[in-house]
Symmetry: C2
Subunit: 379 residues, 2 copies
């Protein structure tokens, strides 16, 4: 196990009716900005419950954050933050709204051009406090310090991270997820699954508890994910998926172990250039990446096979099983499944190179050339 320093002060408020608790978690004198996406929070009841809970607070709202939150839209929200002297941001929605809230929270306290936080990795040294009411379990944004933002103008999708933007609280009421479209349910399960894989499927480092925690989440997603599709009204299934997605990327399972993240970095370019959903890109990239890197990852692939899929000593069959699981969640695993052919690869590799993603993976040996091989294999 490697050394680590880990702290996760986000309060998780889990279960039915927990939105009401936000009233006591947001300072009474705060000027609150409720940030959200499209109309889904008005359909699933989250908006009304939040409005009721904010009855004693001064608040305003900003809607229209996109599925991949854009810098352009978030800068408009930043204007509201400044004009209204906002000092608490409440994100109501999925990962995109959470990520957008984090960028705004950091930008509001940033002395300089906010884009530099993403493009130059400029350090965030302060942020407005924020909370999340989650309606789509997937990204884990509700209790981590990470965010990803897209700049439409330049087709760039870039990430930043800071402990300053870790939410103060996260409300996880699975009832809000009952009305999610099938596509978002499948995407969310695949996204959470790949988050675990990125922190687990590297090489053995004698960290058996971290390994077993990772396998616990993977096994539970494999068990509960298909039920969320087949029994969409089952609240207990939704609760289990929601807790898995949160634990998958709150930082815990990755402490003290090597991490990969190449699938995410290549996937971000696929979204930026071709507009695929985030989870769709992961479903395309991961199986092919595992096939290209099968030798370096063989020991952990065989462990994954044995402990999670019941496959003994066969790394290739384990990769097939991962791919089949994604397909079973309704998420296609080939570029052709999204109407893309081999001509789609070159601009993705060019963008990866432009953004400086030259040495990805746990060994830093996934170059743009390797990424080209991966995407070609995923054709």
């Amino acid at each position: 196990m490697q050394n680590f320093a880990y702290k996760n002060p986000t309060e998780i408020l889990f279960g039915a009716g927990q939105v009401a608790e936000i009233a006591s978690r947001i300072p009474a004198d705060a000027q609150v900005l409720m940030l959200y996406g499209g109309g889904s929070i008005k359909a699933n009841g989250a908006y009304d419950q939040v409005v009721a809970a904010l009855g004693g607070h001064n608040w305003t709202e900003f809607g229209g954050v996109e599925a991949n939150p854009t810098y352009e839209t978030l800068m408009q929200a930043l204007d509201v933050v400044r004009d209204e002297s906002i000092d608490f941001i409440l994100a109501v929605g999925g990962g995109s709204v959470g990520d957008g809230a984090k960028f705004i929270a950091a930008a509001a306290k940033f002395d300089g051009e906010p884009w530099d936080i993403l493009a130059k990795g400029s350090e965030v040294t302060a942020a407005l406090p924020l909370g999340v009411v989650l309606t789509l379990p997937a990204t884990g944004t509700e209790s981590n310090g990470n965010a990803v933002v897209t700049r439409t103008q330049t087709q760039q999708k870039l990430a930043f991270g800071s402990p300053w933007v870790r939410p103060v609280f996260a409300v996880l009421d699975p009832a809000f997820t009952l009305t999610l479209p099938t596509r978002q349910v499948g995407n969310g399960v695949v996204d959470a699954f790949v988050h675990v894989i990125e922190q687990y499927l590297t090489y053995p480092t004698n960290a058996p508890l971290q390994d077993r925690f990772a396998e616990s989440i993977l096994s539970t997603l494999i068990e509960e994910g298909p039920k969320a599709l087949s029994s969409p009204e089952d609240l207990e299934v939704r609760a289990n998926v929601m807790w898995c997605a949160c634990m998958a990327l709150n930082g815990l399972i990755g402490q003290g172990v090597p991490q990969d993240w190449a699938t995410h970095m290549i996937g971000h370019e696929l979204t930026a250039v071709h507009g695929l959903d985030h989870a769709q890109t992961l479903a395309v990239v991961l199986p092919s990446l595992l096939r290209v890197k099968i030798d370096a990852k063989r020991a952990k692939l065989e462990q994954l096979g044995a402990r999670v899929f019941g496959i003994s000593g066969d790394a290739a069959a384990t990769i097939d099983a991962v791919e089949a699981f994604f397909e079973s969640m309704g998420v296609a695993t080939r570029l052709s499944g999204y109407g893309l052919d081999q001509s789609a690869v070159a601009p993705v590799i060019a963008s990866l190179t432009d953004n400086g993603m030259l040495a990805l993976g746990e060994h830093g040996d996934i170059t743009p050339q390797t990424a080209n091989e991966i995407l070609t294999l995923a054709g």
Copy 2:
């Protein structure tokens, strides 16, 4: 899954050399009290490393906290806190020192008779901040808000809990545990194991991720615990045991599920009345409690057997396996193993009754009469 609210803001500083980090975590102008037990921290290097790290701080020390910290000793430490205007407590040691620090931290801000925190459950509404440098992995005190204190005069061992006494940071350097006596290594593993069992072995509530996390810790303790005895110089083994013990009782695995804790409550009385080590009492009580409650716990016992011990559909054999594991860690599981006969039971039951422990367990149906049955069976 039941509703829950969970927050764990303790920063874990894990690995070699992490003691140095406390210098930046303790406010520069703090008056620090270093609290410790006997001489072990001077033998294992922790004392010297802490002194070096505190070079830029004003600090004083208080040693002599017992293996079961006594109210009488802690009240002496409280005098030092008041005399020296202490505003940060640094516990250096095992669970007893951590628990003692928590009681002092709460007592220092308590308006009234500090004993009431334990005896009357008086609410703690403020506490001095505290940090822990852990030298004995066992109780999980380093990242939870619980403490247990013994009053010698009245032979009472009582617990309290408050988010106010959750440590600000916890240094987990496994090197400090290399010099532990065999008895403390065995005790620590048994203690952590039973902490998991108390939050897991109740009845099914469709919380599969919590179940698997619990099983992950149990499996890892079963794998690594015996190695800590057979290869006492193996630092990686110690690291894994240390991380297991922390995760066993930082609150995470118990969120959203029923809990038991009858074994601990009966065990506390065994320590208070007969002086057994804490883990020794757990090793005595748990197997017999499971045999008495086998019908109510059968479903989870069979799950434990299948997933952790490789025993299929046999609750009784699973209990035998738990008992054998404790014995393999060098911890006896019968009262007779500690020189006690059946005459030892009555005073324990009397103390349990006096302390109001009338309805223990996840169903509240473990009465003093049931406890009598359990301890008689454990003779």
